[in-house]
Symmetry: D2
Subunit: 401 residues, 4 copies
């Protein structure tokens, strides 16, 4: 009845799509509804307000596109820029690479600022570019908050400081796909102009909503941006927002109710508590990696990611084999190394609806896999290191005290 | 607990999103999975093969975009055409109008062939355009198979005949959103180059998959088409098809399993039986409308739609009030009249996972609403006319004989 | 994939198990939980309080047995009576017959008061028995509030009057299986000592909870009742109630959460509104039966049931064939005639989570079936009669006004 | 929205109710159906055949009572015995104690053979009783296969040997609640006359089906057994089995479909593979307990249970506090010590739908809890010991090789 059945739970530790809370699965298990009845606009109105909270913006305008992160990128770019516009974009891993590829195919003029994979965006180069751009030819800075392929978190506050320091008017476009709702993201404080994420990441939903939130400045830019767009056009949405019907085309009823349930859980736990939980999960993972005698792909602590850890495997070991073995023997889903780091790393996604004991089960599994593939790990060593930290830091569950 | 709760089932008779079979809702009630594991490619491979069957194509290449019908339109256009290309497009209702709007915003040069709303595409004009286009400046014919706003089905076989008669190489792009899987659609036989539909229509799924199927000629055209596209680009998909991993970005795991369940049900019932069922539902609805003394928005039998019926209301009655009342009093969801026919019609969607007794419940409801709003309907008259036909024509359920 | 698949919804009109609201199905779609954690007792405590409301009792003690109505009967009897005890029991249809059979097998001394099937309990005979029982040898009166097999509702207020008139201390044990939560049931006002129902009836849940509510007098009786019981013993429950853990053995976690959702919906609609809705459904059904020229099995208006209607078929027609045909051709599930009225009636259950348009779809289906089997019904006649009444009487849905 | 919400999964390690596979949850997420239609009997017929396989019987007759294990006990006893009948029953923990209590309340004459909690049934005493019972006054031997309170598995083959050695005709009644479908249970080979289990244990369903399987000899005994029973009576079921309608009263439609899905998964994995998996889980748990320096409540290896491990805590530690802390801090549900061993042990249930990484997550959690409550455990020690064993013994998942 199930082509790849294995007993017990699948242990899902890819950095997306992530584990969905049962409450959300339940909320989505429903028939379609007429999206033009009063119910769906009323639901949408509340969702839009609440989505702003998880982006930490009061002035932004959110759009819930029926698409993926790739579509959300496209919406961010095509609504704010015109073909030929100059952008500065940081290549630090597979996802920033794909976004740059998109920017180039959409005919923007991209200054690619490349770093070694495992390092963050090179902000010194950004500074020099800003310093030399008194003509303001740079129309947008495009940056991932967290590079999912390498587990690197960029310092967005710093980017804003630089823009401000040079009074540069470039738009700041941020891919928050593997950060928002897991890492502290401050749209208004950091002056982000467009921030995007996808439903299947830290929001812990199925794939299908591309969240795009635009600052007033971005909305203003959209009025003159010449990139062609229809499906991804903000203007159509804004027209329907004014009408109070909200949808230029049919949304997924199920995802809207799912998002409602997801947001309810997020607000119940509390955003800051969620960030703290992800920090615990990230820290515990890094301690385990260290205990195993392996290296984190992320080269410096300042870039450590609390949502995904890319673990560098020894030269004689194939990272892809680790992933395959996890799936075949332990019902454990780990993330592959991609592109430049294919085979050289495997990834542990520790974002979204997850708690510490789930992670420890995963770490115990990774240890056995490492042994399977011939790496001389001391079984229990990573779990011990992680547990020692966690046992000191896990708070009581507030609803159960 | 539910902001708009009413006892009993919601009677969903909008022409999309439509009723989802319980089997499909169940199949979708699941956690996320790693889409790079062997399970999802294996599932996808089978789905792509099976999707071809419902388009009646053996040579087409299907793409399952995480998008809506609007996105599927955009994918069809941008992959096959270049800005400035001349298209012939038929404006016969709100959805063909929206598609034309999209074509214009994407900078194609659109010959709009308008018909009165309630009439089909004017193929005489098409013929004259083809006849006078020996230079083959027309690059594509864009046509809806079924106009959802007016309940008009166009004759696609005839379009193909005309193209053949004039040996015209224009691409034939078809919006099959409210037809495919409900009306007989023959991609290969009719020489359709791109056919699209959406998951929330006759396939009876939630919104979220935009199906785009491309003929070999369309695939060929995509290699030179200059319209910018990334998210909607076929090339990225084709690259991943070759790799056997299928997905350039994250699909909805839930929709893939849902599609599997939906296709299983479709094949179990049989496509031809499904068409026959929709014909029964459409015929029964039209008989009821006639019995009520009301007019079908569709002006001629040749255009009658078996998936949606737009009912013209008398001048003193507001079609929107009928829809509102259905929702407020009877838990019945009917379709609004849109744009030019706003207030002048209301629509009964009778497509997707629906049987005759569901329709009769709806018709009984419409009768009461008509009475509510002051139209002197004879209660039971429409149901009687529909029943008389249905009682002669409903087959036994094969699995229960 | 489904052995008896038919397109569209199954139209479920048996008088139990009845249609479950989607909200309840969703609430039940969950993993098991530890029933000894604080969560389940907290949930149970609230449920017990709320169950009292639907029985209209403030002094009763509810028990939620993991069983069916048959088990609830047994719990009512064995906790209050001793073998050899005299009961008066009314045989008016298949379910009262089965209860009497149970009473006899449990070795009670049953005075069976039989009525023709289609008539209510003979309260004149009850009166004469009470009048002649100054020795109070009658220990309990056992009566169904609503006989599901014939669609007959007994007058419980009258039973109480008689007991009071003769100051008779007999316990009043009531089977409210097809009444409670659909018909007005007043445990305290009517001095009912044990009332029972099953989750799969008007509460609109799956089968699996046998509700037993005991008056203080019944609880008192349980202390001396000598019938053997363990699983069905109230004493074990009362012990765990005191401990605050509530469950002497493992309950169904899913049904507890389902019951929570069901009660939320019931309270949102309002009990009196639910009774009114059932009265509309019952009245509409009876009007349809009359319009078809058929007879209600229930012989007098005073016994008309608002939860189930048994329709007498003409002598040349087999009621079972009507039910079979409904299932085979129309995906309509009707109730069979049972025992004495097997073949002579078919039953329409109109209880639980159902609205008027669902019923009208059913009635339209019954008309076609009647025609199928050779009965000269005028198609649309029953629907017309029902609609005429309903269109005057359906209120607006409060949450949508 | 959830009174006791905590992020991530609940880690459910009580010895019932246990984790339900998602496939089963999905299969149960459905509306009610008419249980008298052809669909439910067809489904039931197959289920009854397949249930026999998991009891390893070809001659037994299964009954699927809508009840719990307590009800199944009652059904086993009342159908085979008469009040006053002598039984031999082994008291080795809380559940055998409760069964004995039931036997006594049902007025059987019970020879209680008590062992220290943590030891198995004293079969020497059984032998002496059989030896001295040439008059065959012992009518039944009642024994738990696995005592859930202490984690002790009895040797049923040995019981059969003794009965055979003395040619004693006593019925052999077995509580297989926490064994069947997890431990090897051989009804026919061991000459078990009635075996029972509950759906919420190793079958990994919700609570609600009490499985009772009767040997031909037990069926024969039921014809003369004088214990009163109606709800639990086999005779009513047998009557309906003959009719082919199977159900004397309404079953849970959802549980029947759930059981179908559960059995499909069981047969896909293979019974012997399931037993091996439970042995791995049990062995790993015992190795962890040893590594922690703690004692297994089970005193000898011959009685070790592969479904539940009761861990003895040091005198200064309260086992209940361990359970409370698991729930409050780690979202981990462990089993309490019951009755005589309350506070002295906590229990880890490792039965049903569970895999090794789930268990390792639990063990890591237990380690942190032990530290929390002041026990000087070496973090990671139990996980290391368990992993070392598991890494050598876990097979590849057959469907993924």
């Amino acid at each position: 009845m199930d082509n790849f059945y294995g007993p017990g739970r699948n242990h899902l530790f890819v950095p997306g799509p992530v584990n969905i809370p049962d409450q959300v699965i339940r909320a989505m298990s429903r028939n379609n509804e007429d999206y033009r009845s009063p119910a769906i606009p009323a639901l949408t109105k509340e969702l839009l307000e609440d989505v702003k909270k998880i982006f930490k913006t009061t002035t932004g305008t959110p759009f819930l596109f029926p698409t993926t992160g790739t579509g959300a990128w496209e919406s961010a770019l095509t609504n704010t820029l015109s073909p030929g516009d100059r952008t500065v974009s940081f290549l630090i891993g597979q996802f920033s690479l794909l976004w740059i590829d998109q920017q180039q195919r959409l005919k923007f003029n991209v200054d690619v600022v490349e770093s070694e994979w495992g390092r963050g965006a090179d902000l010194d180069i950004l500074e020099s570019k800003l310093a030399s751009d008194s003509a303001h030819t740079i129309k947008a800075i495009c940056i991932v908050h967290n590079e999912t392929a390498t587990g690197v978190t960029n310092n967005l506050a710093k980017v804003r400081q630089l823009l401000d320091a040079y009074s540069h008017p470039a738009l700041l476009l941020v891919d928050g796909v593997s950060s928002i709702c897991a890492l502290d993201f401050r749209m208004d404080e950091w002056g982000v102009d467009v921030a995007i994420t996808g439903s299947q990441k830290a929001l812990s939903l199925p794939t299908g909503i591309g969240f795009v939130v635009a600052s007033p400045k971005a909305i203003e830019a959209s009025k003159t941006a010449k990139s062609l767009r229809v499906f991804f056009d903000w203007g159509d949405y804004l027209k329907f927002y004014k009408l109070g019907t909200y949808w230029p085309y049919t949304p997924s009823i199920q995802l809207l109710y799912g998002l409602r349930a997801a947001l309810d859980l997020i607000f119940e736990e509390g955003l800051e508590n969620i960030f703290a939980r992800h920090n615990r999960l990230g820290t515990a993972t890094r301690l385990a990696v260290e205990a195993w005698g392996l290296k984190n792909c992320t080269q410096k602590e300042e870039w450590f990611s609390d949502t995904v850890t890319a673990v560098v495997v020894p030269p004689n070991i194939d990272g892809a084999e680790i992933v395959r073995r996890g799936w075949k023997r332990y019902n454990l889903s780990l993330g592959l190394g991609l592109n430049k780091v294919a085979g050289k790393v495997f990834r542990i996604g520790h974002l979204g609806n997850m708690n510490e004991l789930q992670l420890l089960g995963c770490l115990a599994g990774v240890e056995m896999i490492l042994k399977d593939v011939g790496y001389p790990v001391k079984l229990g060593s990573g779990v011990a290191a992680a547990s020692a930290y966690l046992q000191n830091n896990i708070p009581l569950i507030p609803s159960r005290i």
